[in-house]
């Protein structure tokens, strides 16, 4: 295989592994803050049983957060190196734009979260209640700020704006235009909602698993209620934002839409393909199952709207096969999320918010959906990133022109090393989460003394 494909596979492997963990931790940080505040309010009202439930939830999910955060950090560090090892030409060409954005991410966000994480995780009781709450807030704020900078850069690579090219070098004309480039608001909102939904289904799924195993009595109910409510409220919002993001893409990256929908020729009244196998060699689809005119209706909001086909972009469009399926996987999981969260919310409400009263089949369904957010997020990112090909900066810089000169066997060797490590770590992560969910008392017991002592000192106030 040639070095370009290997370098792309390696970067894709790393970025796929990396995004799993920030996707959880961005939203989970805010959820932890919510648990903390609920615990505080219940304690102040003197509702000891409820307060204990929220405290258990906070402590248990803090551990999940710590683990997810650590995995995000180590894979993020790997990425900061791979920019240089895999794409040395990228920084040489657009370093004046990408550099400051990445620099600001490290300076404002990475340090903020890493600096206060220690206090947030281990400082309860060592610092005042207010300082600790503030640390938790700063970690949550830092993770979101980090997403802001990274998505600003990513969106600039998709829909570059605010730059000028002087003598072959890229310079910034307006930072505001670079950061708030055309696709940024949509991508940022889409990603934050994806994080919230991933987190919501993780909360719901692990709680359902606890109920099925008959453990975690105090915290499973409030956590599941939080997770399901969050999912049920946000999934329609996400579908709406996703649609707007799609329209934005149609405007700025029509080749990406054509690949997603398997449209080869520019046509009016394009059918929506439910299934097909796009064939890049023969430049047509096999085994089409289509709904007439629906794609035009969805994308242009007109039954006879025109959609440009892949043949309009010779040698400058992404491969349709992975795009077509990744997009359908994302949408499919989204629809499933909508059905499960609305049904679940309604059933749980009818069961007076007692998850023990829910049918076991539904609980199994929740458990099966625990990591559904990961599937949708990764599929969505594949659509976005493969859809940018063959460019690294859409329409301006080709990926092939910035790849490193490292010999392919070397890339292949390290790729095998990374993939092995990442697969092992994903297995370890899921296994440990399952173990923690099944043995919450063992996980929480070690610190019971410290907490009791602090509550005795009036720390809950």
């Amino acid at each position: 295989m040639d070095a370009l494909i290997l370098a792309r596979m390696q970067f894709a492997a790393n970025i796929t592994f990396h995004i799993l963990f920030p996707t959880i931790s961005i939203a989970l940080a805010w959820v932890l803050l919510f648990f903390r505040l609920r615990w505080r309010r219940a304690s102040q009202r003197g509702d000891a049983a409820r307060a204990q439930g929220w405290l258990d939830a906070y402590r248990f999910w803090t551990k999940v957060f710590a683990l997810s955060f650590a995995l995000g950090v180590v894979s993020g560090i790997t990425m900061s190196f791979q920019f240089g090892t895999n794409w040395p030409g990228f920084m040489e060409k657009v370093g004046n734009i990408a550099g400051p954005l990445l620099g600001y991410e490290v300076l404002t966000a990475f340090f903020l979260e890493a600096g206060f994480l220690g206090v947030m995780l281990f400082g309860h009781g060592k610092v005042g209640e207010r300082v600790h709450l503030m640390s938790t807030f700063l970690v949550a704020f830092g993770t979101t700020l980090s997403a802001f900078w990274i998505l600003a850069l990513n969106s600039w690579m998709q829909t570059p704006a605010g730059h000028e090219i002087v003598g072959g070098e890229y310079h910034v004309r307006s930072w505001l235009a670079v950061i708030f480039n055309p696709s940024f608001p949509y991508r940022f909102a889409h990603m934050l909602l994806a994080s919230a939904l991933t987190c919501a289904f993780l909360l719901t799924g692990l709680s359902a698993w606890q109920v099925l195993r008959g453990v975690g009595r105090r915290s499973a109910a409030p956590v599941m209620r939080t997770g399901l409510t969050l999912a049920a409220v946000l999934i329609p919002v996400q579908i709406f934002v996703g649609d707007m993001h799609g329209l934005n893409t149609l405007k700025h990256q029509p080749a990406k839409i054509a690949a997603m929908e398997g449209v080869w020729n520019t046509e009016r009244g394009v059918p929506l393909l439910l299934f097909a196998i796009p064939d890049a060699k023969e430049r047509r689809n096999h085994y089409e199952i289509a709904v007439p005119k629906l794609a035009s209706l969805i994308l242009t909001h007109e039954a006879d709207g025109e959609i440009r086909g892949l043949n309009d972009f010779p040698d400058a469009h992404p491969p349709p096969l992975p795009m077509f399926f990744a997009f359908r996987i994302m949408v499919g999981v989204g629809v499933l999320m909508l059905a499960v969260s609305w049904l679940g919310c309604w059933m749980l409400r009818r069961a007076k918010w007692q998850p023990q009263q829910l049918p076991r089949l539904l609980l199994w369904g929740f458990a099966a959906m625990t990591f559904s957010g990961w599937v949708a997020t990764v599929a969505g990112w594949y659509v976005t990133e493969i859809g940018r090909q063959p460019f690294i900066v859409y329409g301006l810089v080709r990926t092939a022109d910035v790849v490193s000169a490292v010999p392919s066997p070397m890339i292949g060797l390290t790729l095998a090393l990374y993939v092995t490590l990442y697969l092992a770590l994903i297995v370890a992560y899921v296994t440990v989460l399952k173990y923690m969910a099944e043995k919450p008392d063992a996980v929480l017991a070690t610190e019971a003394g410290a907490i009791t002592a602090r509550i005795a000192k009036g720390g809950a106030a």
Partner: protein, 334 residues
């Protein structure tokens, strides 16, 4: 460069900032990695205290590496590609090591008891792999990525010596942060690591001028050599003081912080020596910092951010160290 305008000074400022980030990384993650490499010598209860002593800090410590590499990436993009291309394999190995070490922190306390031993082993192995790789990278970098058996030997020597320096730092950290039997063992570990570390340091100091003509000319010229001799002399005094301290009773009591502080001085001196050897190159004999730098406009934008955020980072780093000051108790999530 007679009249150095602000634009021409910018790359120098960024080189300094990058150097300081790398120095802070080497010192701070150095003790983390050192503690990690001492893990296999400790009892299970001691392992928990050792991990607890670095638990609240390691994450922020590693961020300095990201900042250092980040500055290399954003301020000196041409050097970033060259350096990381040359160091492709050791960088990958270091990243695998740092990944293993980083995740073992969390997995070891959350996994099933029977798996804890495996994670402890991975903690040790990851720390070792990262340290050895960093030593190799340092050796290759200092010698300008030269080819030939002497360059390989030189890199191998540093790959062996840097972990020793980290172990000494780790032991000194434990002397400062722990008490009782573990502190006593840490003193022993420090004494064991001292001699090989000195051997490595002397060897490297003698070998560096041998592998690099540029460094040789820089150091062995009058009158520079007289002023420069302060660096090895002061390092020598600090290291001898560490050795002396390790034999005293005070190091177990009120002076427990002193070996660690002295070792930081040694690292800072070593860094200054290195900076003197390399400046104004970012890759020795190949690329000066001006050749490798981004446009002044881009550097200014990052510079403004750095001026605001680096003091803030320093502020909350100090805050975090103050929160977790004193001897390490049992570390609990709360």
């Amino acid at each position: 460069m007679n009249l150095m305008g602000f634009d021409a000074a910018l790359p120098v400022i960024f080189m300094a900032l990058m150097g300081v980030s790398m120095l802070v990384y080497v010192v701070s993650d150095g003790y983390d990695l050192g503690v990690g490499m001492l893990m296999h010598r400790a009892t299970d209860a001691e392992k928990d205290v050792m991990v607890a002593s670095i638990g609240p800090f390691w994450d922020a410590n590693e961020t300095w590496l990201v900042l250092g590499v980040g500055i290399l990436l954003v301020a000196f993009p041409k050097a970033h590609g060259l350096v990381l291309g040359e160091l492709y394999l050791p960088v990958a190995l270091m990243l695998v090591g740092l990944t293993l070490r980083g995740v073992a922190f969390d997995f070891r306390v959350k996994a099933r008891d029977t798996h804890k031993k495996t994670w402890d082993r991975l903690f040790f192995a990851g720390s070792m792999l990262a340290s050895v790789s960093q030593g190799w990278m340092l050796g290759r970098y200092v010698s300008g990525f030269g080819t030939g058996w002497n360059y390989t030997l030189f890199a191998a020597a540093i790959a062996a010596a840097l972990p020793m320096a980290y172990v000494l730092m780790g032991a000194a950290w434990l002397i400062m942060k722990t008490e009782g039997a573990l502190q006593e063992r840490a003193v022993q570990w420090a004494r064991t690591a001292w001699a090989p570390m000195i051997g490595g340091l002397v060897l490297i100091s003698m070998a560096t001028p041998w592998v690099s003509a540029t460094v040789r000319e820089r150091w062995f010229a009058l009158p520079e050599i007289i002023a420069l001799s302060a660096i090895p002399l002061m390092s020598g005094v600090a290291l001898l003081a560490v050795a002396g301290l390790l034999r005293t009773r005070a190091v177990r009591g009120p002076l427990c912080w002193l070996p660690f502080a002295l070792l930081i001085v040694v690292f800072v001196l070593g860094f200054l020596g290195l900076a003197y050897s390399i400046y104004p190159y970012v890759v020795i004999d190949q690329l000066t910092i001006w050749q490798a730098a981004s446009s002044p406009a881009a550097l200014k934008v990052i510079g403004i951010g750095a001026c605001i955020s680096v003091p803030a980072i320093a502020g909350y780093t100090v805050f975090s160290y103050r929160v977790f000051r004193g001897k390490t108790g049992e570390l609990t999530y709360a």
